[in-house]
């Protein structure tokens, strides 16, 4: 039986990785991911988890080591944040096209400069196109559940892709809250042992990751893209099976009070909870407002998102990332592409909020909804607006 406990989200994630029976964990500590890998290293040192914890010298080495262990057929986990994730960048593109199902939890944090250890989504948006499956957790329970789900999806032979579970640094990673920790029997039922189609084995030598001459490079990349698109089916299937075993249902896009809504807020990650409270307040005041929460970011669930929007006329999209000089934030841009020239599609406004640990409050969500309504009547000059900028 699973048990409901008060536990720090980072510790719960480490426990989930243990329940998933990870075999190799190469990791380098960085705030705010530290507690996850610290606890895993303790579990290994105490003999509670039969795994190899590799205390590498950098994140670049962590991801290189992950590639090696996963290629050799070991269930492989790591975790990182911010500058550390950026240091991995050179390697991150490699396991995805090589189809190595590594699982990583990213405790999302801002990027320097100025130096910031606090939460936003800039670190992961820099890595948007690395070709890993990516989900975003809304609370501690999801962080645990999506971590277990990630192993199942990534290692599915129909998928064979690495997967990132994004959790907001500090606002999730450092919070103690109630979480249902599954028991070993349930996790074993949901997650079969890792059996890769190919692995590095001296008895049956193969080459992995050789040079891709111009005659094959395009095809390798197209195969990767096709694999990502095909993965969605298996992501959904694994969520269905997750529900059967654990009783909690997950969808690629979640709707909250969207019935008859005219304006929909669109969020990813833990601010979605505050956004729900904001929607409740606006509904109480008679406004037709709802919320869409994107849980699956890559592959992007376009069909599900369009369906979830329904007849809403205005989308107020919240980006936690400001790409200087771009037309708008990455989530806003994605949704504009999705609805481009589709008749009856909603007007989309992109708001940038919550950079470097700036709090996104109920009042901020109300402000975004009000502004999106106004901009639907009179188009603003820019396609995005940064919320809560101090003028003095």
């Amino acid at each position: 039986m699973s048990k409901r406990v008060g536990i720090e989200v980072s510790i719960a994630i480490a426990e989930a990785v243990g329940l998933a029976r990870a075999e190799v964990i190469p990791a380098y500590p960085i705030t705010p991911q530290t507690h996850i890998v610290e606890h895993l290293s303790e579990m290994v040192a105490n003999g509670e988890l039969d795994a190899e914890f590799v205390p590498v010298e950098s994140e670049h080495a962590a991801m290189s080591c992950c590639c090696g262990s996963c290629a050799a057929g070991a269930r492989t986990f790591t975790s990182s944040s911010s500058q550390g994730l950026s240091l991995m960048s050179e390697i991150l593109y490699i396991p995805s096209t090589m189809r190595l199902p590594i699982v990583m939890v990213v405790a999302n944090r801002a990027l320097s400069a100025p130096i910031s250890i606090w939460n936003d989504h800039q670190d992961i948006m820099v890595q948007r196109d690395i070709g890993w499956i990516q989900t975003f957790a809304e609370n501690g329970q999801e962080a645990v559940d999506l971590t277990i789900h990630a192993f199942r999806v990534a290692e599915d032979r129909n998928v064979s892709l690495p997967m990132i579970v994004n959790i907001d640094g500090f606002t999730l990673s450092h919070v103690i809250e109630p979480i249902e920790l599954p028991d070993q029997e349930e996790v074993d039922k949901f997650l079969p042992p890792f059996k890769p189609r190919y692995k590095l084995d001296p008895r049956r030598p193969i080459s992995m990751g050789p040079v891709g001459i111009p005659e094959v490079y395009t095809e390798a990349k197209v195969a990767h893209d096709m694999a990502m698109k095909k993965a969605k089916r298996y992501i959904l299937k694994a969520w269905d099976e997750f529900e059967k075993v654990f009783g909690r249902k997950y969808n690629p896009v979640e709707s909250y009070r969207t019935e008859d809504a005219e304006v929909l807020l669109v969020t990813m990650g833990s601010i979605s909870e505050t956004a729900m409270t904001a929607v409740d307040a606006m509904r109480d005041a008679g406004q037709k407002v709802g919320l869409l929460r994107i849980r699956l970011w890559r592959p992007f669930p376009g069909q599900e998102f369009r369906k979830a929007v329904g007849k809403a006329k205005v989308l107020a999209v919240v980006d936690r990332c400001l790409p200087p000089g771009a037309l708008c934030g990455p989530v806003g841009a994605e949704l504009r592409s999705l609805f481009y020239k589709i008749p009856g599609s909603p007007k989309i406004f992109s708001f940038v909020a919550g950079l470097g640990g700036r709090d996104v409050t109920v009042e901020r969500f109300e402000e975004m909804v009000d502004k999106a309504r106004a901009y639907a009547k009179k188009r603003p000059r820019e396609l995005y607006e940064v919320i809560g900028v101090r003028e003095k």
Partner: protein, 182 residues
């Protein structure tokens, strides 16, 4: 939902006391969050930790701006930090102090309801250390009843093992010695 802000100095265990209350409330079947003030914390510097306790699912990731309860672990802090900042109108400030309510109101200008206990004295006598985080939980229980004593004792046992008994004694004494002033 009740929101609590704990003021302490880095190393005094404010985060631990937040964790104890939240895990106890969750063990009672309630919903709770406990979190530090996010960021680097230094030993000795003024720091804060936060708790939310509710009978229903907590759907917010905002910071705590308007606490119902403020708990101050260190007697020197009210002179340095506006401990009553943002406190709700009917809120309460729980202080570790050897001063009377009138003296506290005069010296620090705190108008809110007060609960006072000399936790440094109790902790020194009961634990042999002037670390007041668990002692002050006795005052928190007495003044607010935010969580049950039994659940909190269980959380203490889980966290401190054989050291729990001394902490429980300090907590119990603080519970009995806390004075409230409307």
């Amino acid at each position: 939902m009740k929101e609590v802000r704990i003021h302490g100095r880095g190393g005094q265990g404010g985060v631990t006391s937040a964790e104890l209350v939240a895990t106890a409330a969750i063990a009672e079947g309630k919903y709770a969050q406990a979190f530090p003030s996010f960021g680097p914390e230094r030993r000795g510097a003024p720091v804060a930790a936060f708790i939310r306790v509710s009978d229903d699912t907590i759907r917010t990731r905002e910071k705590v701006y308007h606490p119902d309860i403020v708990m101050v672990l260190d007697p020197s802090l009210p002179a340095l930090v506006n401990v009553a900042e943002g406190l709700k109108d009917d809120g309460i400030v729980i202080l570790n102090s050897d001063l009377s309510a009138d003296e506290i109101r005069d010296k620090f200008g705190i108008k809110a309801k007060l609960a006072i206990v000399d936790a440094t004295k109790i902790a020194t006598e009961e634990l042999g250390l002037p670390i007041t985080n668990t002692t002050m939980l006795g005052a928190l229980l007495k003044a607010t009843g935010i969580v049950g004593k039994e659940a909190l004792f269980e959380a203490l046992e889980k966290r401190f093992g054989r050291l729990a008994e001394k902490n429980k004694a300090a907590l119990e004494r603080a519970f009995n010695e806390t004075v409230t002033a409307g």
